[in-house]
Symmetry: C2
Subunit: 255 residues, 2 copies
């Protein structure tokens, strides 16, 4: 259960959202102003907290800090993670005003989250409702592009799970995370912070914990990466990209 946020100044936290949206399509000054409201209604969720439950209503919001994931559980307890959510990512949006979520979202670390309802015009998720399409420079267009980017990431994930080995999958994931974190200014040239346990990596990549562990060791042994606790260094990104057949998402450049 998310709780009312502490009183630390939330303003700088919203910058990750701005960076991400701006990368999808340039933000006008007017839009920058409207997005300031994000800092006003923030919640904090503890690790393990449910941000959105499967089959429940969808509450559009942005992650300002911390990592989360979208997942589903099989009845026998097996877990599959669909996507890893990092700061700046959207949760609970849906292109249709469908009230139901097809996956649950869970905090993996302490997470600061901001409601986006003031931006969506209230009622339902997508702003393409007739009533809320007043503003041509609306941020609905940004959210549609965001949805496209996310679909691309889902397709990448399907390729990983269906046709790549544990070794390739792991390299591919590290490159994807580096790209996404760089987009929001949370990665430097070669390294980034990844606050995930090996259990989470296993449930994301469709592997066992033991096998993830051995795969990471192999990548380290071959001097392709360095990893200590939650700090990841991509020593040879080009080699990793060749192994994983990785290509970064293409952001459509139509302004």
């Amino acid at each position: 259960m998310p709780m009312r946020a502490s009183l630390t100044s939330p303003a700088p936290l919203t910058s990750v959202v701005l960076r991400r949206l701006n990368a999808l399509k340039a933000l006008s000054p007017a839009q920058l102003n409207r997005l300031e409201v994000l800092g006003e209604r923030t919640d904090v969720a503890a690790p393990g907290a449910m941000l959105q439950s499967e089959g429940g209503p969808m509450r559009p919001s942005f992650i300002l800090a911390g990592w989360a994931c979208r997942q589903r559980l099989l009845t026998d307890g097996r877990r599959q993670i669909f996507s890893l959510l990092i700061p700046g990512d959207a949760v609970g949006f849906c292109v249709a005003p469908s009230p139901l979520s097809s996956a649950s979202a869970v905090a993996l670390t302490r997470v600061v989250i901001a409601s986006a309802e003031p931006l969506t015009g209230g009622a339902t998720a997508s702003a393409s409702h007739p009533s809320s399409a007043q503003d041509p420079s609306s941020f609905a267009e940004h959210m549609r592009r965001s949805a496209c980017l996310e679909e691309g990431l889902l397709l990448d994930h399907i390729v990983r799970l269906g046709r790549q080995t544990a070794y390739e999958r792991t390299a591919h994931l590290l490159l994807e995370l580096h790209w996404r974190l760089a987009l929001i200014g949370q990665a430097d040239n070669r390294s980034f912070v990844m606050p995930l346990t090996q259990e989470v990596l296993a449930d994301f990549l469709g592997l066992s914990i033991v096998h993830i562990n051995r795969t990471l060791q192999q990548l380290r042994r071959e001097r392709l990466i360095e990893m200590s606790s939650s700090h990841v260094v991509l020593i040879d990104a080009a080699q990793l990209a060749a192994i994983a057949d990785y290509q970064p998402p293409l952001l459509s450049r139509t302004t």
Copy 2:
């Protein structure tokens, strides 16, 4: 390369689209009228023909007959199929007016396809463009729901690939296809036609051809299904659902 259609009356072919859209949300008589234009611009594609290429422009259309798939190839030739497209399914739609496709679409059988451009107002895919949102009973809402249903199917697929065995995956897929075909009136209580080679099934389920073959044999040996050429009979759907942990998509019932 799709070619101009033959002159067989296309009218009955569009009924699959109507049935599918109507299941997502009731169609008004006015909308039924507008959808009649689908029969006017149809193309035929031969098996193996590219309906849409990765990175290419998106041309919104509907499949009126035949099966296709969305897929991506790794540079070493491995193939992963993201989704199987059956009659009534949409291709080339995107919630954003993004000109680029993140996967290619390929015909698996002879396919009859109808352009949906007369319905989307022309220019770009989604009808939620300011200029084309004239009609409140527009079919944009249907397409948004369709996108949500498709995302649910993608998530199901991720679970299959990441956390289910070959046996479970296969059972799950057969149940999904039965549900989708029933939606468009192309399945009876227990059986349906599935014009797919085992190679396609393998590339969809992330398995080798040999292993798909043995898995299907096991399902037959245990009298859970019957299969001869392209005809599938689900002998014990309840048992299959238990094996696969299957639950049909929930269509939001908000009118």
